[in-house]
């Protein structure tokens, strides 16, 4: 067993021990990541976003969607920042900061769950296609091509029409668009490894295909998958907002969503432009964080991909 493991190069593109003595590729990737300022900025943003989302009840000054101060909102004005409300109120008379903080929550939950589902289904299809090959490969990849050729919005609309408007259908809609990306990624990664010496060696040792794929080839695909998942989270955050912007979001108005905050802000754009500004910036910064982190991960795991 240990002899077999020794044959398998550990994770991302094998044999690139550039300096750093006996450190494994993961460790040298970590070192490269730490030296990349853009990556650090991304990581900090992502970390903050996750903390805000998880600790929302502790961080938010009030409870969300209370409309407690509805009386202070008039048809022609929305109260701006005050001592009690650092960012002012939203147009329903709830504390704007609280709404923003809770908005991070729905973005994180929907983004992470949908990416996880997209990753799991896509990876399974990709592994089946690349691992078994033959007609299984052909059938799966044609299916993936079809899925890829449907515009994501159309996919989302179809899912919403089929399942009704609910958080689950938003998640499914977003993950459906991600399945082909992960399926192609894993299949390509497996195919690229198929002819490599270590795989040939394992096969000549009499290991079964399934064991080679699951135990040895799959771990080597972890790097690219991690990169793609991070980048996909950026799109997922934007997609969640886009869907609720279009009115396909969570039907429960008590759930704070950045996309919906942007929609409602539009009616008062001339009186209170900040109502649109804050959620918009929140979406963009979160997406920026995941993108920077993803790009930095890509460069750290595969130094040759650097610009």
């Amino acid at each position: 067993m240990t002899a077999l493991d020794a044959l398998t190069p550990q994770a991302p593109p094998p044999a690139e021990v550039t300096g750093g003595g006996g450190a494994g590729p993961w460790r040298s990737a970590w070192r490269r990541l730490r030296r990349n300022p853009a990556g650090i900025v991304g990581a900090v943003i992502v970390l903050l976003f996750v903390l805000v989302a998880v600790l929302a009840p502790l961080l938010a000054p009030f409870r969300p969607a209370t409309s407690e101060w509805f009386g202070e909102v008039t048809p022609t004005s929305v109260p701006g920042p005050s001592d009690e409300h650092p960012l002012g109120l939203d147009s329903y008379g709830s504390d704007l900061l609280t709404q923003l903080i809770y908005g991070a929550r729905s973005s994180l939950v929907i983004g992470v769950v949908s990416t996880a589902v997209g990753l799991a289904v896509g990876a399974l299809l990709g592994v089946l296609a690349g691992g078994i090959g033959g007609w299984v490969d052909t059938v799966i990849m044609r299916l993936v091509d079809v899925l890829l050729s449907i515009p994501s919005l159309l996919l989302a609309v179809s899912v919403a029409a089929l399942l009704g408007r609910s958080p689950v259908s938003i998640m499914l809609a977003i993950s459906a668009a991600q399945v082909p990306i992960f399926a192609r990624l894993l299949r390509a990664s497996l195919l690229a490894q198929r002819g490599q010496d270590y795989v040939v060696a394992l096969r000549s040792l009499g290991l079964r295909q399934r064991r080679i794929v699951v135990g040895h080839m799959l771990p080597n695909s972890l790097g690219p998958v991690l990169v793609q998942a991070t980048l996909t989270l950026a799109t997922a955050v934007i997609e969640v907002a886009a869907l609720s912007f279009l009115g396909l979001g969570d039907p429960n108005p008590a759930v704070a969503e950045w996309g919906r905050m942007l929609v409602t802000a539009q009616d008062r754009l001339d009186q209170a432009p900040w109502l649109a500004l804050y959620p918009g910036i929140a979406i963009a910064v979160t997406a920026l964080g995941f993108t920077l982190l993803g790009e930095a991960l890509r460069e750290a795991l595969d130094p040759r991909s650097g610009r």
């Binding site: 994501s152 934007i238 907002a241 539009q266 649109a276 918009g280 997406a287 993108t291």
Partner: protein
């Protein structure tokens, strides 16, 4: 080349066939009987009987499918449950707005993106390069609907430079021939109508154009950098060709190939973005029609829309594939 087109069109027919089967199954898979699903909440026994008669729901399933297929082939996508208007008619009224917007955005992105990407690559590491790389990152992470809202607030509401919404000033008495408003004005020689439609198009086009612009700039830059280090460029330089000739004939021509590939793949993103942009600027395109259909479960509209988009999408990608042949003769040979 011709075989490519024929093969792709045959594939398209196959895909549409499969899609029609799926859509057919979709409406039948809905809970309750299809007539009730089609009529929605307005279903009365008489209405259900009429729909059963019209769509032949009382016949065997395979016969129903053939009937449905026959209607599609004849261009009959049924009528909207909400408005009673034939789906096809509404498409021809609404789609031009969406296409006009997408084309304007695409033209803007190409006209700005290719030179910017080229110049950035030529002066790699310079201020323009840094600005372009940073800007394209922003273009990816700033959602198109947020950019649209920002532009609307700053340039339309605050500065009053552009109209805030719509496609044309209601006071202009314009004749509409094709429903492409800019084109209509040119066709009927109503220059003011055309100009007004164009002015209405500026902000939405900038907002929507940010998506393809960011991508075009990135790909152009990367691919120009690639080509610049190729041997043939060095040879051309050694031959003493002028810089303009080198960039036009030897660099850009090769570098644009990956750009056109990505453009085809972006058609879907452009459509989604167009729908979002339409919402912000209250443009009566396909967006609002589609979302009314989703919220009210207007199945004939949804079925027709999905088929229609699939055709448009496949045709766009076919055009892109053909354009390879024009840009790169090597594709024609193989």
């Amino acid at each position: 080349m011709l075989t490519l087109v024929v093969r792709r069109l045959a594939l398209l027919v196959l895909v549409l066939f499969g899609l029609s089967l799926l859509l057919f199954a979709w409406v039948r898979a809905l809970p309750g009987d299809p007539a009730r699903a089609l009529l929605g909440e307005k279903a009365t026994p008489a209405g259900i009987a009429a729909v059963n008669e019209r769509y032949g729901f009382d016949q065997p399933v395979w016969q129903q499918y053939l009937t449905y297929l026959g209607q599609i082939v004849r261009g009959d996508f049924g009528a909207s449950i909400n408005t009673g208007e034939p789906v096809v008619t509404t498409f021809f009224e609404r789609f031009p707005a969406t296409i006009e917007l997408s084309l304007a955005a695409l033209v803007l992105a190409i006209v700005l993106g290719i030179p910017l990407g080229y110049l950035a690559a030529r002066r790699r590491g310079g201020w323009l390069d840094n600005a372009v790389v940073g800007g394209s990152l922003l273009g990816v992470v700033v959602p198109v609907f947020f950019l649209a809202v920002l532009l609307k607030y700053l340039l339309a509401i605050q500065l009053g430079l552009f109209p805030t919404s719509g496609r044309q000033d209601a006071r202009i008495d314009a004749t509409h021939v094709t429903n492409f408003y800019v084109l209509d004005g040119l066709l009927t020689r109503e220059w003011d109508a055309s100009w007004d439609a164009l002015v209405h198009l500026v902000l939405p086009a900038i907002a929507l154009g940010s998506i393809p612009l960011a991508i075009i700039v990135r790909i152009t830059r990367a691919s120009v950098l690639d080509v610049l280090s190729d041997d043939h460029v060095r040879t051309a330089e050694a031959k003493g060709l002028s810089r303009a000739v080198i960039s036009r004939r030897h660099v850009l021509r090769n570098a644009l190939l990956p750009v056109s590939t990505t453009l085809g793949l972006q058609a879907g993103a452009l459509l989604s973005g167009a729908v979002l942009t339409e919402t912000v600027f209250s443009i009566n395109g396909i967006g609002s029609y589609l979302f009314d259909a989703v919220t009210q479960l207007d199945y004939p509209v949804l079925q027709g829309f999905i088929l229609f988009i699939a055709v448009v999408y496949a045709l766009v990608n076919l055009v892109v594939d053909i354009s390879y042949g024009v840009i790169d003769p090597r594709v024609r040979v193989s």
